[in-house]
Subunit: 341 residues, 2 copies
């Protein structure tokens, strides 16, 4: 089969690509070709796989060509992030709305009804004066997004549902939680600090905490997120239980508890590298997000959230040992031993 | 002030235009210019008003020019109807989605933050496997539309909310109920029969009833619909109580009760002109619509639904006497006298 991942060179996209290549098959069919469309080239390990074809350039310009590809399946992850969309309204419309529309129209033109997973976001939820947000957002909570990013994600969910209803694609929308711990550098997402406050201290560097430690948020590890995307792809339409967007399982965690877990895993000195520097813009954006999520439909697909934020930190340390100080690695090894004992 | 009505030559648009011209002012400011943008020219009485300027042609082509107009206010009513959108997917996307986006971008480019009323629809509601529809839809019922028309209306609600949040327009979305009794000929809307089963018998002609008399639906008269659009325009953002779409007041009525009211007002012979001819396509579309609506936010603005479907029939007879047989007019006059007695 021939698959497309948009945003396939990004953090989640590349991780998904690796998982699919390792799995070798999807939905019971061998993966012969994996096209990674992204504005940047994919990491070297992916480029080296003979099944991978990188298509580098703006997604919007690439979409028309996809009609000829007749992909069997598509994971649509490409997106401008929340902070970028707030700063540049037109970039958000182009990257998140126009590109998705062009992609859907290309798949419709192809005519082979590909399976399609759209990575939506819990950022679709937010408090409107007419619609206070519940403490935990559910699959069927009314979304009244309070960012352009959340607005575009929600709009795309509805496009995916309607193109699916019409039989042009076999689409489904999965709402991702904030993925943490992301490796590398901070990005333009308002949620970037949810990774920074763990990643930077583990590397022995100071990190800025722009919000109050009492802030609660639904998060998920990279591996559970990828697992969720694949499970949603492989689920039958019946198992999906509807065309509306579905929440992926979240660990609902307070920032203070993330820092407590960091201290437990990597020691007091590591945690001490996190410095509170309140940022009103980020506080305003994050204040409009949900404090936690429940994911009844995803759990019916057999998906579960992490049990503990310490597990998410350990996943990062195992996946990126070179980005972690020796002291933190040693502390983490001790922590794992004591936990097993 | 300078106003724009898109779809200003259509049934609701022309009626809104007449109401505004008669009122002379909106939100306390005199109406100096009223631009009616529509693919058809407006009725002669509107063309004759020196304040009216007709702009005839596809809306999408007209939008860019609106940036120079710097309208103080806009009523955006132009839309392809539900049946048309189901039959021609691209027409629906172009007329309902692309045109709204182009209009919003033109108003953003104008830079003067016009007040903006979007005519959404209760067709945003529908049953998804994950989201059974409640017997009565509320302002905050989760919309999972089951038609392209409803999908586009919902998407535009969210665009209006986000352009408003960003300060580009001062927008609000009002969900119209099925407007009945429409004069003239049947249109492509799946809901067209909600007018046809009253209008045609009153004219002495047979009418087709494509659904079961037990079908219940939220309806509103033309005058209450126009009243609702004006009230939503004039309401302060605070009185609107949020940026999410709001339901306009509905009379929730069974088709059988509509026919009973027709018999009460216009006699047995008139009602006998309605012939049941089941239409599976229309039944399927209407089966995905709400059975009734409640409109708590609109009622806070002082808006109320009609008390009785007979009132809606009488409104039509008074507004369009030439389209009603003498026998039906005489029966209606008797009915009104007996009701007053």
């Amino acid at each position: 089969m021939k698959l497309l991942i948009t945003g396939g060179a990004g953090f989640v996209g590349a991780r998904l690509a690796r998982a699919l290549l390792k799995k070798g098959a999807l939905h019971g069919k061998p993966i012969e070709r994996l096209v990674l469309a992204d504005q940047f080239p994919p990491p070297a390990d992916l480029q080296a796989d003979p099944r991978v074809e990188a298509r580098t350039g703006p997604l919007l310009a690439q979409c028309a060509g996809f009609a000829q590809d007749r992909f069997d399946g598509v994971f649509h992850l490409a997106s401008a992030v929340s902070g970028e969309c707030e700063a540049d309204f037109e970039l958000g419309l182009r990257s998140n709305l126009d590109s998705t529309r062009a992609l859907l129209d290309a798949l419709r033109a192809a005519g082979n009804v590909p399976r399609f997973v759209f990575s939506s976001s819990v950022a679709v939820f937010g408090p409107d004066a007419s619609n206070p947000m519940p403490p935990l957002v559910r699959d069927d909570t009314l979304p009244t997004p309070q960012t352009s990013y959340g607005t575009h994600k929600l709009i795309c969910e509805h496009l995916v549902a309607d193109y699916t209803r019409k039989g042009f694609i076999d689409g489904r929308s999965a709402r991702l939680n904030t993925v943490t711990v992301r490796p590398g550098k901070p990005n333009g997402a308002a949620s970037s600090f949810f990774s920074g406050i763990i990643r930077e201290p583990l590397a022995g560097q100071e990190a800025v905490l722009p919000v109050d430690p009492s802030v609660s948020h639904p998060v998920s590890s990279p591996s559970r997120t990828v697992e969720g995307l694949i499970a949603v792809y492989e689920a039958s339409a019946e198992a999906m239980g509807g065309r509306a967007g579905l929440n992926l399982p979240a660990l609902n965690v307070k920032v203070g508890d993330m820092l407590n877990a960091l201290e437990a895993v990597a020691g007091k000195a590591t945690r001490a590298l996190v410095k509170p520097v309140p940022d009103p813009t980020i506080q305003r954006i994050v204040g409009g997000w949900s404090k936690g999520a429940v994911a009844a439909r995803a759990e019916k697909l057999g998906l579960k959230p992490e049990a503990d934020f310490a597990d998410i930190i350990l996943q990062y340390i195992h996946d990126h040992p070179a980005a972690v100080t020796e002291a933190a690695r040693a502390a983490a090894a001790n922590y794992e031993r004591s936990r097993k004992a």
